[in-house]
């Protein structure tokens, strides 16, 4: 896979801006946003999630890929409209298909966690 210099979301870093400033062109993503999932690489956690939701495939997770934010591996969470950084302790696989499966699993763990920041916001602002 061709590695592009940076993500579309990580434009704040000075070094990351250089290629775009010099060429006047938007450089693009560091990963293939159109990559279709390889279902032979599903993790046991994801299989269980699909079973519980009653889906035959990854459904919305087909659009989830491992991205990069400010030079670090991260997953975009659409509910928060922000990037969730992958902990350093997790070793990234050497191919995008497996990295994407990892990203999908981590995102579910994060979104469904009782410690998700949206839980506190809902408690505070939910209309009752």
């Amino acid at each position: 896979m061709q590695q592009q210099p940076k993500t579309g979301a990580g434009r704040k870093g000075k070094s990351a801006d250089q290629p775009e400033l010099q060429t006047g062109q938007h450089v693009g993503y560091r990963y293939d946003v159109n990559l279709l999932p390889d279902y032979s690489r599903l993790t046991p956690f994801l299989k269980r999630y699909l079973e519980i939701m009653g889906w035959d495939d990854l459904n919305w997770l087909e659009d989830v890929h491992l991205g990069y934010e400010e030079g670090r591996a991260a997953i975009f969470d659409r509910n928060l409209n922000g990037w969730v950084t992958v902990p350093d302790s997790i070793v990234l696989p050497d191919n995008q298909q497996d990295r994407d499966m990892l990203a999908r699993e981590l995102l579910i763990r994060f979104q469904m966690s009782q410690r998700n920041p949206l839980v506190a916001l809902k408690d505070a602002y939910d209309k009752r």
């Binding site: 279902y39 495939d57 459904n59 922000g82 839980v119």
Partner: protein, 281 residues
């Protein structure tokens, strides 16, 4: 001016006084979280617990409230009889659920859903599944214009024909059309996949920024910056699996479907010289 005597829940919890600088999602995240597969606020439902009700005399608000009430009682399968083509039914469901509509829906059916599997035994009006986030929606007959407008995730399937501007501003997910689609389908598409098994109207994929369109029939014309791409083995495997899930197949065979992607000429539109803009447009 009278002063407020009550304090908002956000004040009591200290949310408004909390410093925001230096905050990061990383602070909240632990990969060793105990396993959970549902949103923290989701209703705990059982697919084997079934309920149904007659929506004939109910308003849109009453029908949607009834579905929510049944979910809160643990019903994982809900059947709505006589929806009578009312608008905005089955919207905003952020839960796992098997939902059946025994009839047609009006405008904006099943919008903003995150998780449920919906089956509509009839037709739908404009903008079915708009801003859909996750789940599946299957329509047995035809659909109106703007089918899946701004969809962000999930599978939106129409077994029949759909109108124009299908998947306008699509940001993710998969739209599947068993029959034909109208003009300006995938207009301003940004991500996701659209599968049309029949013919497509004029200006397919006009001004698309990213994403993939697969067409099984004839395309009347492509829009600005929509270009043909090569079908790969991986495309065929993925399409076969996806279509099989809904009992569909390409009339001329999946391997013979046409694949259309963004030419990406518009990514740098502002930097183009006037002469170059004329070439693109």
């Amino acid at each position: 001016m009278a002063s407020l005597k009550t304090r908002a829940a956000s004040d009591i919890k200290g949310v408004n006084a909390e410093p925001l600088s230096g905050r990061s999602m990383q602070h909240f995240f632990s990969a060793a979280e105990e396993e959970s597969f549902l949103y923290p606020h989701a209703f705990s439902v059982d697919f084997n617990k079934r309920a149904e009700f007659d929506a004939g005399d109910l308003s849109t608000t009453q029908i949607n409230a009834k579905i929510r009430e049944l979910m809160s009682d643990g019903n994982g399968t809900v059947v709505v009889q006589n929806p009578m083509a009312k608008h905005s039914l089955g919207v905003g469901i952020l839960n796992r659920l098997q939902l059946y509509f025994e009839g047609s829906l009006g405008y904006f059916g099943c919008g903003l859903i995150d998780g449920p599997n919906v089956r509509i035994k009839g037709r739908v009006g404009w903008s079915c599944g708009e801003n859909m986030l996750a789940g599946t929606v299957i329509i047995d007959k035809n659909a109106g214009s703007c089918f899946g407008a701004a969809i962000r995730g999930g599978d939106l399937v129409c077994m029949g024909d759909v109108g124009g501007r299908t998947g306008i501003d699509q940001k993710g997910g998969t739209i599947i059309v068993g029959g034909r689609t109208g003009a300006f389908s995938a207009f301003m598409m940004q991500r996701g996949r659209m599968i049309v098994l029949g013919d497509a109207g004029n200006n397919l994929g006009d001004s698309m920024y990213d994403g993939i369109i697969y067409v099984g029939g004839n395309v009347e014309s492509l829009g600005v910056d929509a270009v043909d791409a090569e079908m790969t083995d991986h495309d065929v495997v993925w399409l076969t699996r996806k279509l099989r899930n809904y009992g569909l197949d390409a009339p001329r065979g999946i391997a013979n479907m046409r694949k259309i992607v963004a030419g990406k000429q518009l990514w740098n539109y502002d930097n183009l010289e006037p002469a170059e803009k004329k070439i693109v447009l």
